[in-house]
């Protein structure tokens, strides 16, 4: 009993995994048939495709719009070997282990998968990636902008009426309104853009302008300027999935328009609702910790956090004791 063979451990683990999968499948099918009353109407009262509901992208675009292989961390450093492909996570994410890694992706950029930066902009993108922790506005809990808010790993809710469509985002409780009716231009440039929509058949087409140029597209340093102009297209492909595509134009940063596309999925949990992610509070130490009277972070160099990662396995940790025998 005390000395299980590795083989039997694996067998037990596999059996447990299989059972868990089975249970998940069963509960999902119960949910679908019994938990949900009627499926959502695919048309609104005025005959338009109905996008109302809670949605979420289910991809890796929030890490990097472009195709990429998995990497050990959003920031890395050379390991034992000085090869670019043999990096280890850099200190700020090292302590997170496998949860700090970046999953691989086929990318969401259409065509050749390239983002057509001007040479100067390409250099800025590269620097952005190297200084991700210092520069990415998401880490500071800033308003995420469009299109980034559409594929961040948080749900959002579309509230659709005839003249206005409101989109509420869980991330920092922000929102945008898509105006289908007449509206004056906004009084100032914005983080979330000025969205004016129209119907082309069953596709909702949204023109987004008036950006302030402070947002990024992802955690890989892809960025734009205040000249950004988006044309979004929302098309219902099933009652529970939207085909979402965006044409991106920004003559200050890109040499030609380019396009991303992805499905957005309905959150089918029967009791699904939007919960708060009020991250301003979460980032105060990140933003202002160097100005505390009693420092929580052990070492600051100017306003840069120097993280000394020490990982101490607590005495009596059962897994480690088993592992060490």
């Amino acid at each position: 009993m005390r000395r299980w063979s590795t083989g039997s451990m694996i067998a037990v683990a596999l059996a447990a995994a299989a059972l868990a999968t089975l249970a998940a499948v069963i509960s999902l099918s119960i949910t679908r048939s019994a938990g949900r009353g009627s499926p959502p109407a695919t048309r609104t009262a005025d005959g338009k495709p109905n996008f109302s509901g809670i949605w979420q992208a289910n991809n890796e675009a929030h890490w990097d719009l472009q195709a990429h292989e998995a990497r050990p961390g959003a920031v890395t450093q050379p390991g034992v070997y000085p090869y670019a492909y043999a990096q280890v996570p850099a200190a700020p994410v090292l302590a997170l282990g496998a949860a700090g890694g970046v999953p691989a992706s086929l990318g969401v950029v259409e065509g050749d998968g390239q983002i057509p930066y001007t040479p100067e902009a390409a250099a800025i993108k590269k620097e952005n990636a190297e200084h991700w922790i210092d520069r990415d506005p998401e880490l500071k809990c800033y308003l995420p902008g469009i299109p980034r808010a559409m594929y961040m790993p948080y749900p959002f809710q579309i509230v659709q009426n005839t003249n206005k469509i409101n989109i509420a985002y869980a991330f920092t409780s922000t929102a945008r309104t898509i105006h289908l009716d007449k509206v004056d231009p906004p009084p100032d440039d914005t983080y979330m853009g000025h969205s004016v929509g129209r119907w082309e058949g069953d596709t909702l087409v949204v023109d987004v302008t008036n950006f302030n140029g402070k947002n990024w597209f992802d955690r890989a340093g892809n960025f734009h300027s205040d000249a950004l102009h988006l044309v979004e297209r929302f098309t219902l492909i099933t009652p529970d999935a939207i085909h979402y595509e965006v044409t991106i134009e920004d003559p200050k940063v890109f040499t030609r328009p380019w396009k991303i596309s992805m499905p957005l999925y309905r959150r089918l949990e029967p009791k699904m609702e939007l919960l708060e992610y009020r991250c301003i509070e979460f980032v105060e130490e990140f933003l202002y910790g160097n100005l505390r009277k009693q420092q929580l972070v052990k070492r600051w160099e100017g306003d840069t956090i120097i993280v000394d990662v020490t990982r101490k396995v607590p005495a009596g940790d059962k897994l480690y004791e088993w592992y060490r025998r």
């Binding site: 409101n166 929102a175 100032d188 983080y191 609702e273 301003i280 933003l287 009277k293």
Partner: protein, 426 residues
């Protein structure tokens, strides 16, 4: 060097002023004209129904309030619900006179004047006084009900801590309103203590505010929610800086964007559902809303507030029952019953009327970007550290003797007391 220090202090001062302003938001507010409301209600049953294409009551549009009514009735009006037209005119006249004065400040260059320039420059006009003598319609005296003994104790503990941190400053030396209840003395050892309660008030404390503005900037948590860009609370009555609500509906959902607190806005979603509230250990800053229709009225039950929320002293036990009714094409009546048996000895009810705004005007900024531009927090903390360094090097006064917050004085353009104070809150 000295100049940079002063600049930092100046920025901090503006922040303090903003904070004071945000905290006071909860007192004077909007108004309603009940005389107009009664015929409007009749019109609703008689006239064309204001309903959505799927036949629910239609609350959509941009809304705000256009008259000012204090949250609590000034006690000199007793149980009287409405001002006479003469009283309204006289109150407007008095407020115009006070806000038109050019000397609504403590002496220039004094610590007490940190917010003076800001307040004097910003608060030069006011909304017309409404007919109602208070937003509170129940209890009949228009006042927030008495606090429970436990809430009084908590408030007293916070006030004692505020006073300890003020006691070595000129505010106490000169016996100014900010030091009310305290005395002048040497720097208190409590300056290095953790506050007796987590301080999440959105606005100034003061002798009766019960809030958490303390004269210290050791860390972001010492500052109030306004300075931390998280002052938006439920219920929200707008306050002196006003608000704009955008309501959009779909079947099963009412969404409300609160453009409030000068860039501290937020998006609210009210699911129309019979589902029970969230599990009791899941708490949110703005609670958990559950809506249903009762005739033409949207009724919303809000619970599951976080211990970090702060509404007039109520935190995790706050319970709201809101009633939103479209009285006519241009009017929504908002009524909210507020209860928390751990804070007040009885529930109380507030009513406010919202007027429809031009939908195409794009008056709503939808951009709660206070946080994105919060250089004030950096300035407050950096200023405090600079003061400490200067003192340690013998170049400046003991920081314990300097008042940077909770000092009192001319918030929103009015004096704390006397004939230049706000006649609607006096």
């Amino acid at each position: 060097m000295k100049r940079r220090f002063l600049e930092v202090l100046g920025v901090a001062a503006v922040i303090v002023a903003l904070v004071v302003l945000l905290k006071l938001r909860q007192s004077p507010v909007t108004g309603q004209t009940p005389a107009a409301a009664t015929p409007a209600r009749a019109e609703l049953t008689a006239g064309p129904a204001l309903r959505t294409p799927w036949n629910e009551p239609d609350l959509q549009g941009l809304w705000t309030y256009d008259v000012e009514v204090p949250l609590q009735r000034p006690s000199r009006f007793g149980n009287r619900e409405f001002f006479t037209p003469e009283e309204q005119a006289q109150l407007d006249q008095e407020r115009t006179r006070i806000l038109g004065q050019s000397d609504r400040r403590y002496s220039s260059g004094s610590e007490q004047d940190v917010g003076g320039a800001y307040n004097q420059a910003i608060y030069t006009t006011h909304k017309p006084t409404g007919r109602r003598t208070s937003l509170i319609v129940d209890p009949p005296d228009g006042r927030i009900p008495p606090l429970t003994p436990e809430a009084q104790k908590k408030r007293a503990e916070i006030r004692a801590f505020q006073l300890a941190l003020l006691q070595a400053t000129d505010v106490c030396k000169q016996k100014l309103e900010g030091c009310s209840g305290g005395t002048y003395g040497p720097p208190s050892p409590r300056r290095s203590e953790i506050p007796p309660h987590y301080l999440t008030v959105g606005a100034a404390g003061g002798p009766t505010g019960g809030g958490g503005v303390i004269n210290r900037s050791d860390n972001p948590e010492d500052r109030n929610l306004g300075e931390r860009c998280m002052a938006a609370v439920l219920p929200d009555f707008g306050g002196n800086t006003g608000f704009m609500l955008q309501i959009v509906q779909s079947p099963g959902t009412v969404s409300i964007f609160y453009d409030t607190g000068q860039g501290q806005g937020w998006q609210r979603i009210i699911p129309m559902t019979t589902n029970p509230h969230l599990p009791s250990h899941v708490r949110q800053w703005w609670g958990n809303s559950r809506g249903h229709w009762e005739g033409n009225t949207l009724v919303v039950d809000v619970t599951n507030f976080s211990a970090k929320t702060y509404f007039q002293g109520s935190q995790e036990n706050l319970h709201l029952i809101e009633r939103w009714t479209r009285l006519d094409a241009n009017t929504i009546e908002y009524a909210v019953t507020i209860e928390d048996p751990t804070t007040w000895t009885r529930p109380w009810t507030v009513k406010q009327e919202y007027k429809k705004q031009n939908d195409s005007a794009n008056r709503i900024y939808k951009e709660p970007r206070c946080h994105e531009g919060n250089f004030g927090m950096t300035a407050l903390l950096a200023g405090a550290r600079a003061q400490e360094r200067a003192f340690a090097q013998g170049r400046g006064p003991d920081p314990a003797t300097i008042c940077t917050a909770g000092c009192g004085g001319f918030a929103l353009g009015f004096a704390d007391t006397g004939e230049d104070s706000n006649p609607l809150t006096r």
